[in-house]
Symmetry: C2
Subunit: 429 residues, 2 copies
């Protein structure tokens, strides 16, 4: 079945660059075919891919067992093994997610705006696919199906390069996915998995300007940093999520406590989890919030004024304010009013998600306007920073860059637009 994934791997030894360019050209050709399919045909192809994933459960779980065994032999951490491991329920979840993407509205063809010029030219901006999206990811095999589905739903082709730990799982998932597409009459090469783990492939993808239109890295900070540093192709990514929650003087103490607990402790390992808590010196509920976090098992690292709130708070070092813990650890600072909070956030935020808790709507609006992050929130947990929670259906990732798309990026962020001009013989004076 791997033939459906990379038809020419039997070809003689080929450089990583030549391989990437060959796959990219095949992907671009498939993308042009894809552009000829209707919305319904693209959706049907995804449902067929989902069905194929379910039908291939034995092959996929067997392949995954090889990866898990190798991971155990290579001493992967429990967390890494958990990310890697598939079971019938998780595989069903992967297939269901593909069906859900099939059910999302197709952004392609959507008219962004129209205008009629005085000379009679009718202008419209229409959404079109970006083209070929490169996905570079690590040990989560579900990304193989998730990313492929989102790219295909929006009319894009995808070239995926997964991590070595999940190589057998990824190949089995991609083989089933591509076979499902083909069975529905869609071009199987619209989604391709790079067939080798040669590390040079990543560099070749990052420099394939003109062949790969956008790169989306999915993985740890070191992967994203490398991609951002070396890419010659536009990158959609966030390096990290140093998210702040500021408890303003006018915050309701009970609401503030619940939001702070949820923002930090619901899941400590996601990019939207709070990493720094800013307590207004005039907020009356600070002791209660701090105690609740400590009692919930969170380590707190505070500045001197925060430490004075509870003897269990450890001293924060200068690095703490710029650290994404992704763990039950939180840095805590006491600030004097909104402007001090804004200054701290401007200095330390990663521009991912920052929140304020306050009952003062004027303060809330100032925070919403002046914090220059992809997502700014009032009276809500930063853990809502997620495409699904935003009603986007699914997300290819969260972007903290300033161009194209910011925050949770889903189907719309995988499209661009063209100008269509309809005339009746107009010439320019």
């Amino acid at each position: 079945m791997t033939a459906a994934v990379h038809p020419l791997t039997e070809s003689a030894a080929e450089s990583a660059e030549a391989l990437v360019h060959r796959l990219a050209r095949a992907g671009r050709a498939a993308q042009r075919e894809l552009a000829g399919l209707t919305d319904g045909e693209k959706a049907a192809a995804l449902c067929s891919a989902a069905a194929a994933l379910r039908a291939a459960e034995p092959e996929i779980l067997a392949a995954n067992a090889l990866d898990v065994a190798a991971g155990e032999a290579n001493g992967l951490t429990g967390a890494m093994l958990d990310r890697l491991r598939l079971d019938p329920a998780r595989l069903a979840g992967i297939a269901d997610a593909v069906d859900q993407v099939a059910g999302l509205p197709d952004p392609v063809g959507q008219v962004i705006d129209r205008s009629m010029r005085p000379n009679g030219l009718a202008l419209s901006r229409v959404r079109v696919p970006i083209g070929l999206i490169g996905i570079i990811y690590e040990s989560r095999p579900n990304v193989t199906a998730d990313a492929a589905a989102l790219c295909l739903r929006s009319g894009n082709a995808a070239l995926l390069r997964g991590g070595s730990e999940a190589v057998h799982s990824n190949r089995a998932i991609m083989a089933a996915f591509a076979a499902g597409l083909a069975a529905a009459g869609a071009p199987a090469e619209a989604v391709q998995l790079v067939p080798t783990q040669d590390r040079a492939v990543v560099g070749a993808m990052l420099t394939a300007a003109g062949l790969i239109d956008m790169i989306v890295p999915r993985g740890g900070k070191s992967l994203v940093a490398r991609v951002q540093a070396d890419a010659r192709v536009p990158v959609l990514a966030h390096l990290d999520g140093i998210c702040h929650t500021y408890l303003h003087a006018a915050a309701d103490p009970a609401m503030a406590r619940e939001i702070a607990l949820n923002a930090k402790m619901r899941r400590t390992g996601i990019c939207g989890s709070m990493e720094t808590l800013l307590l207004d010196a005039a907020f009356p509920g600070s002791h209660g919030v701090v105690a609740a976090l400590l009692d919930a098992g969170c380590e707190l690292r505070g500045d001197a004024r925060a430490q004075a709130l509870d003897p269990r708070i450890k001293p924060a070092s200068a690095n703490d304010w710029d650290t994404e813990y992704l763990d039950a650890i939180l840095s805590v600072a006491v600030v004097d009013g909104l402007d001090a909070a804004l200054a701290h956030i401007a200095a330390h935020s990663s521009a991912h998600t920052d929140a304020i808790v306050t009952a003062d709507s004027q303060v809330a609006e100032r925070f919403l306007n002046q914090v220059d992050s992809a997502i700014v929130m009032v009276n809500a947990s930063t853990q809502f920073a997620d495409g699904g929670e935003f009603g986007l259906g699914a997300e290819i990732g969260i972007a903290t860059g300033r161009l194209h798309a910011r925050g949770p990026v889903a189907l719309e962020g995988l499209t661009t637009y063209k100008w269509q001009v309809r005339g009746t013989g107009q010439t320019r004076p």
Copy 2:
């Protein structure tokens, strides 16, 4: 007055990188100040800058005379000297253009869309400035005021690096512009001109990721190519405009002739001018179109079938199909039907602007959908590819990249967005 442009130039010898980083930090600080101004205050600041340009006519024209004299001494071509030369009418035009930008609607704060989640979270996407825009341009001094005005109108700061040929003109224009801003209470450093012509400055700007948010090159192909090759900062640009016009079998011969003449000959030096004419073998008016172009003084370079139409047509070389002449020269090919035209365009277009002339609406819609260029036109001259003609008021440039903005880019393309989330205490289950 130059003090208003670069306050610290008296500082000791400083590396190009240190200089660019210092100016960028000052620009970013000014941009944050700018964000505090109302729409009306930004508009008033631009009107004040326009007035200052008019008031500084003697200084600006005197400075321009130095550049023109130096250009003549250095043997600049007539065309280059013409681009460089200012006179009272041209300077008035520059000032008027700044007033016009002041009159454009401010995109900042515009709500792109809103949604209410089932849990009561109210989401909105709101336009915000991109930040600090780097402008790298050549010999047209008007760019100094045009680009600065567009960036400022959309709440961005601008760091400009002009060409050596126009150094005195640029400094005089920027000094007046910045003084006008300051007189209106706007931060003068929101627009800065790099005070040195050190070539290393360009490289330092292209690699100032995190300090400069976007680079817009304005100039010839070699400048744009260099910027695209070396930039570590997102670039908004088009390398060239190899624009096609396809005269379909069902094109009205008279309309086709007028559109072809206008697309090529109105102004041959602009990026939207037609460079390749595709004649359908079944189009009855080909002889007339070809004769009209030749009689208008255009050199035609054709494939064998095109040459058969008129003995005055020279043979085209393989390069001609990929050449942007920017002159009264046109490559001409005869194609068999829409698919052949689409294939030629897919192979040779620079994805800038491509047009079809036809009375068959189904053919027209297929062309509009299948040509993957920033601008696709039916029954109109490609010379309309211009932000002003599109009703955008003015343009910072035309982009042929696939992300963020395509085609003519004006104020909206100088903004990004943030997600604002308004809650009432929601926590994520």
